[in-house]
């Protein structure tokens, strides 16, 4: 068994961080003070069967079937997979191919919403709560992972990796700390921030459940110090609940990509996730704060992942906000209800501007991993002319993975792919800090991304 570096004893002093990173303009003031709200229900729900990392779900309903809110409509089809549940009462109108944000078509279940019945159900659920001091004795570790699996829980931070796998104990890799990621380092996004302000109890209960499931003896929640109110609220909720587990609320420096797990884990634990490895290799289980809250509701109330909070923001939208929306809501429904897109809107980003993919159109559904919709204007997204590298080394200084992006990009351009592989191109997390900082406007991360695909296409041992 591997010997892990002992955890730092005191995590609460000062702001912790990782080497490298950049400081993009935050723009969080647009939405950070706006409470989470619900909008009118959409008349149609589009539920893609692949909203998570891994194999797509298999549909368990057919055309014209009546479905209930929280009913499973698609089942997991493998180890890395997740079921899909209907967020509404309604009728399946079709199971067909719909446009995906990638430009490809994907299979999805289309449901015509019974708005009245769904509304009633939502009002009835409003009573449900989870407090930080949730009694964990009825929940054995198996029961917790089962709830996550059956509820179709996946990471809400963006990667949408099935949560139950993260919570499953691995014999050879004992977990000694469970972390919650509340850094929300992407500019513009404030969904996690609002969750911490409005649902601290559910988040803490979720962390305690994650600790119990994984056998972690310690827990910590990492929050960037640009959210002092969230740090305060979580600390107050923790001390008020008086939970038995040792949990720290950790202040992190405000720096992108602080919320990447390969940045957050070293910042808090002092251990790096090995190249080619995963958090369990560093003795860590890590969830987003929103995922932790969803876990608490799944365990305590049997509620599957059918809704999520996302930030609809950017200058391309008239009324930005933090919205609690059913999974599968067409983005057009959200944007049009909030006075958008504006005349000068030019880029629709699913997520934040540093890592979110751009969407060509609005007829796409909200998916489980979608933490925001950021709409930027023409003036913000004007293409900049790429000029020659002046070897200033800024990309090297900011790379959180300790790579040399300028060198790797040159190898990729020259198709020296095996050399790029040997210089650890696959360790790139595609955070985009290099492209962000480059004074010559070289699309470094884009070269690295395509290079990674070329490395994976190399014959083994070439």
């Amino acid at each position: 068994m591997q010997q892990l570096k002992p955890l730092p004893r005191d995590l609460t002093q000062g702001a912790r961080s990782f080497p490298g990173g950049v400081h993009p303009s935050e723009h969080k003031e647009i939405t950070e003070a706006l409470a989470i709200e619900r909008l009118a229900l959409p008349s149609q729900i589009i539920l893609p069967l692949a909203m998570h990392a891994g194999a797509p779900a298999r549909p368990t309903v057919g055309k014209k079937d009546e479905v209930a809110r929280a009913q499973r409509v698609g089942e997991a089809s493998g180890f890395v997979s997740a079921p899909v549940h209907s967020p509404v009462f309604g009728t399946v109108s079709d199971v067909t191919a719909v446009p995906h944000q990638s430009g490809r078509m994907v299979r999805a279940i289309l449901i015509r919403t019974d708005i009245e019945r769904t509304q009633e159900a939502i009002e009835a659920e409003a009573e449900q709560r989870v407090d930080a001091d949730l009694d964990l004795s009825p929940y054995e570790p198996r029961k917790i992972t089962e709830a996550a699996k059956e509820g179709g829980l996946v990471g809400l931070g963006g990667a949408a990796f099935p949560t139950y796998i993260k919570l499953t104990r691995i014999e050879k890799k004992p977990t000694d700390i469970a972390l919650l990621n509340g850094s929300e380092c992407e500019p513009y996004l404030t969904a996690d921030h609002r969750m911490m302000l409005e649902q601290p109890g559910a988040i803490l209960a979720g962390l305690r459940l994650a600790m119990k499931a994984t056998g972690a003896s310690r827990g910590a929640i990492g929050i960037e110090d640009n959210k002092p109110d969230a740090l305060r609220t979580m600390r107050q909720a923790l001390s008020a609940a008086g939970v038995p587990e040792p949990i720290d609320i950790v202040a992190l420096k405000t720096k992108y990509p602080q919320g990447g797990e390969r940045s957050l884990i070293p910042a808090i634990t002092g251990r790096a996730v090995p190249v080619g490895g995963f958090p369990p290799d560093a003795g860590v289980a890590i969830l987003n704060v929103g995922t932790a809250a969803a876990l608490a509701y799944a365990v305590a109330h049997g509620r599957p992942l059918i809704e999520r909070v996302l930030t609809l923001t950017g200058p391309g939208i008239a009324q930005p906000g933090n919205l609690l929306v059913p999974i599968g809501t067409p983005i057009r429904h959200l944007v049009e209800q909030r006075g958008g897109p504006t005349e000068d809107a030019a880029r629709v980003i699913l997520g934040g501007p540093m890592m979110g993919p751009a969407a060509a159109q609005l007829d796409l559904p909200v998916m489980k991993g979608m933490s925001g919709i950021t709409i930027l204007t023409e003036a913000q997204t004007r293409p900049r002319k790429e000029v020659a590298c002046i070897r200033c080394g800024r990309c090297v200084d900011v790379c959180p993975s300790g790579l040399m992006p300028a060198t790797l990009a040159r190898l990729v351009i020259k198709r020296r792919i095996a050399e790029a592989r040997d210089q650890h191109l696959l360790a790139c997390v595609e955070c985009g800090s290099c492209a962000y900082i480059c004074p010559s406007h070289i699309p470094l991360v884009q070269y690295l991304r395509s290079g990674k695909a070329l490395v994976r296409a190399l014959p083994k041992e070439s």
Partner: protein
């Protein structure tokens, strides 16, 4: 699908992330260095009056014209706006003796960008520091003129009374080394050596912009604050020079001038903050930049104390430029998490 009022589906441009970028641009980097040189330029104009202005104009004109010509020849878009040719010209002028003829200075400027940069393919592709290429050319061609120094402040009468020639502190240091134990000669040379505060302020014989350590340090502080440069190269240079200088001085206190004179005299400070920090010709990683700086400092002192020239920054920088590709390899960064989880 929902349509817009005119019946067309509104489409948005799709690009890959990141969708936002930092404010820094290549011209901004160059102009930041130019701003950093303002104190040194002002000091040069104050100390050497009209000579400084004439030389600055000549080298910049030569550098800019050669770059324009090079772009024409290579059928490239003009690149004067990026500020790098102007910067090269200014740096070259600040490395010249005040009485250097302006037409040769212009020629030096042209060689700097024409051969030092455009011949390699333009900004970003040059192997050697362009200003140092120009200076080497001038030293090789006009050796005597390149080493004729005058006393600052004696130039109020340009074209009239001849300026007073003066030895530089490093010239004196070299004489001291060559005095070969002749005690009276050594005492005489040592008595001419300017005091350290004067070296710091720059009221001494030397190149236009290199004499005032204070002015250069002000510019260096600006660049560090703007993050135009990092500390690695300047500290590396000064450390390398200080270590070599101290050992040599301790070994031969009578023959070798004290290390502080070496740091403040000549172009050590200018080299550390302005010349060696040219990003194109130094290594990429912070570690590489530090060792590059140390190399420049050590080689400079080797040339000054052991070699044949009183000054060595120029050759030290060019030599280190030449081994930069190797330094890049030796000082490649280590990926986070390589070798296991206990590394952070």
């Amino acid at each position: 699908m929902a349509k817009q009022e005119d019946g067309k589906l509104r489409l948005f441009a799709v690009r890959t992330s990141p969708h936002v970028s930092g404010a820094l641009t290549t011209p901004r980097v160059m102009y930041d260095v130019l701003i950093a040189l303002v104190p040194a330029i002002l000091a040069a104009v104050w100390l050497f009056r009209g000579h400084a202005v004439v030389l600055l104009v000549s080298t910049v004109a030569g550098a800019v014209l050669a770059e324009m010509f090079g772009n024409r020849l290579l059928r490239r878009e003009q690149s004067i706006g990026d500020g790098s040719a102007i910067l090269t010209g200014v740096i070259l002028a600040l490395c010249l003796p005040p009485t250097f003829p302006f037409y040769f200075a212009a020629l030096g400027g042209a060689v700097s960008t024409g051969i030092g940069k455009m011949a390699f393919g333009g900004l970003g592709y040059n192997v050697f520091n362009p200003a140092m290429v120009g200076r080497t050319f001038l030293t090789a061609c006009f050796g005597t003129m390149m080493t004729t120094w005058i006393e600052p402040g004696t130039l109020a009468t340009i074209g009239g009374v001849e300026a007073v020639t003066a030895a530089t502190p490093l010239g004196l240091a070299k004489q001291l080394l060559k005095a070969g134990g002749d005690a009276s000669l050594m005492a005489q040379i040592s008595s001419q050596m300017p005091a350290l505060p004067r070296l710091f302020l720059g009221n001494i014989g030397g190149s236009l912009g290199e004499t005032s350590a204070l002015a250069i340090l002000l510019g260096g502080a600006w660049m560090l604050w703007r993050r135009t440069i990092t500390w690695h190269i300047p500290i590396g240079v000064l450390l390398g020079a200080a270590v070599f200088g101290t050992i040599a001085w301790l070994a031969d206190p009578a023959g070798v001038v004290n290390p502080l004179t070496h740091l403040l005299g000549g172009s050590m400070i200018f080299g550390a903050f302005i010349i060696a920090t040219d990003p194109v010709t130094c290594p990429l990683s912070a570690k590489g930049r530090f060792w590059f700086g140390v190399g420049v400092g050590l080689l400079t002192m080797l040339i000054r104390i052991v070699g044949g020239y009183p000054e060595g920054v120029m050759y030290a920088v060019l030599l280190m430029n030449a081994i930069t590709p190797f330094l890049d390899r030796w000082t490649a960064t280590r990926p986070v998490g390589l070798g296991g989880p206990s590394y952070a």
